[in-house]
């Protein structure tokens, strides 16, 4: 197995690492001090050299986002941290916030410095009361030590961080819906280009805004400590550095792991203890429930887990939720559960997603209940095609893509559930025209 440098998880096993004194004994806040002495654009240059891409799902290059904030802007603008972590299969931000909250706080200082923002909100999903408390405590400790507030460490730079708790909505993880929610509205996405400007120009309270995932921002501190160029030497292509993966499902040691981007999936599976009780695996989902599945064959298990390879094979790296399923799992049954989830979480703003997710759910329910019709499979694909690219935000695609993946590799499992195919096609054949 290849060597796996631990960057975010370097001090994971240090006792009381969530305490600021302990954190500071392990390189803590050295990167923040560094950033405060650097010009903001120099901080962005370091991030650029590191090749860091967003860890929240879309993989957008972080430095491009940060560079998008107007440089001569002297009115308030905002750094918003996406700690909504709702993508099924993903549990990494929770561990980061529970066990290493100062990595996040320090990352916020660095990111805020880079974009010259004095105000940061950390939007944490409502269920995460415990991580919320952990982050609040870390923020308070940082204020007490003079790493937050006015004139931080004599640098002349001010920063306040506030925790904002969500209240139960997957859609609020979508960045524009998150901004709506932060402003006290329903968690619905806002207008985007071309009808409205990007968040970096006009986000929360019509001010320039950066939204970044917890892990993305937490990585900023280690990057400054080791140097952007050194971080960028890890990994390959456009998938640089390490990433946290939540390995779940049918493995012996499910947990969060840190791997170099591009590590073969088989190696991750082995590190996670291999298939649960040795039972053969049937398929896996590489990056959270919204990313299309792959059969657990040699061909796919040998793929390197990185942005480009997943994309080239019709899936995505997503949020890093790697889920394994053994041969006992029915693909249609799993998809039925997922469709209920997406239909429930659809915010209802646009028709293709609102209606489409409902139909995907209904058709799955009837197939599972034994009432599936011969034409249902094509109907599913048809609905997916109508959602894909036609819905207002990416939740629609997130619901459609898993079905497309499931039918690409496991269409036979759906077919086997549809009872008497000849009978069903007779019932739905055109009625004979009465004579006379």
């Amino acid at each position: 197995m290849s060597e796996q440098p631990q960057i975010l998880f370097k001090y994971r096993n240090v006792e009381n690492y969530n305490n600021i004194d302990v954190y500071m004994k392990h390189e803590g806040y050295a990167a923040a001090r560094k950033a405060l002495q650097m010009e903001p654009d120099a901080v962005i240059e370091e991030i650029k050299a590191s090749g860091l891409r967003g860890r929240g799902g879309a993989g957008f290059p972080t430095h491009i986002k940060w560079n998008g904030i107007p440089k001569n802007w002297d009115k308030p603008h905002y750094l918003v941290i996406n700690a909504d972590e709702g993508e099924p299969g993903t549990a990494k931000d929770r561990e980061l916030m529970n066990k290493m909250p100062h990595l996040l706080v320090e990352g916020c200082i660095i990111a805020a410095r880079a974009i010259r923002s004095n105000r940061c909100y950390i939007y944490i999903r409502g269920e995460y009361m415990e991580p919320g408390q952990s982050v609040r405590k870390a923020i308070q400790e940082a204020y007490d030590k003079g790493f937050l507030g006015k004139n931080i460490q004599g640098s002349g730079f001010d920063l306040d961080i506030h925790v904002h708790m969500g209240a139960g909505s997957y859609e609020c993880g979508e960045e524009s819906a998150l901004m709506s929610s932060l402003m006290g509205e329903r968690g619905m996405p806002r207008h985007k280009p071309p009808s409205a400007p990007l968040p970096v120009i006009s986000g929360v309270w019509d001010s320039p805004t950066i939204v970044n995932n917890v892990e993305t921002v937490a990585t900023a501190a280690p990057i400054l400590n080791m140097g952007g160029a050194a971080y960028g030497k890890i990994g390959s292509g456009r998938s640089l550095g390490t990433k946290l993966f939540t390995v779940s499902g049918h493995v012996n040691k499910p947990a969060n792991y840190e791997f170099v981007l591009g590590t073969p999936i088989r190696e991750i599976l082995e590190t996670a203890g291999g298939p649960l009780n040795g039972k053969p695996l049937k398929f896996f989902i590489p990056g959270g429930s919204s990313t299309p599945l792959f059969p657990a064959t040699d061909k796919f298990l040998d793929l390197p887990l990185d942005y480009e390879t997943m994309m080239a094979n019709g899936s995505m790296l997503g949020s890093g939720g790697l889920m394994f399923f053994d041969e006992g799992v029915s693909v249609p049954a799993l998809m039925t559960r997922l469709m209920h989830f997406y239909a429930h979480e659809s915010c209802g703003k646009c028709t293709p997603c609102r209606e489409g997710t409902n139909w995907l759910t209904k058709i799955h329910d009837r197939i599972m209940a034994g009432g599936g019709r011969h034409e249902d499979i094509d109907l599913l694909l048809d609905i997916c095609n109508n959602i894909g690219g036609r819905s207002f935000c990416a939740l629609g695609d997130a619901a459609a893509m898993p079905i497309q993946g499931a039918l690409k590799y496991f269409r036979h499992e759906y077919e086997a559930l549809i009872p008497d195919r000849s009978l069903s096609s007779r019932i739905y054949a055109p009625l004979p025209v009465a004579a006379g």
Binding site: P88, R125, H164, A167, G168, S169, S248, G249, L334
Partner: protein, 157 residues
Amino acid sequence: MFTVEAKEQLDNIVKKYPTKRAALLPALWLAQEQYDGWLPPEALREVAGYLEMPPAEVEGVATFYTMYNKEKIGKFHIEVCHNIACMVRGADALIDQIGEKLGIGKGETTPDGKFTLSGAECLGACANAPCMMIGAKYFEDLTPEKVDAIVEEYKKK
């Protein structure tokens, strides 16, 4: 009614945002605490009055989010994750087990008002599946034995 302390808390929350409206989610959380775990109409009116918003608008926001309870629920809300990572590690059997123990089904409350049982979407503990929460507390790596013990413990509370 909000207590004096709660009102003070609310004043401090409002200061964190550039608009009063932005304090709506935290204000609803606070109201839910003040009103015994749910948001009766008077709670919504009180929040609306404080934030100078139309009550209908406050209600529209409150109904969007699943964690704001629009009806009175049990003292202990047991929410078992039934999303896919938990589903394949036995979540459905756990829900049945708890339901049988308490004599209620998914979405129901015991007659004494002590427990409400729900299925939940991914709780972000997929690597420790199956999992559930009771109130704000997480319980992970569940087994039938563990669940039995937890429910017994809460029955005594």
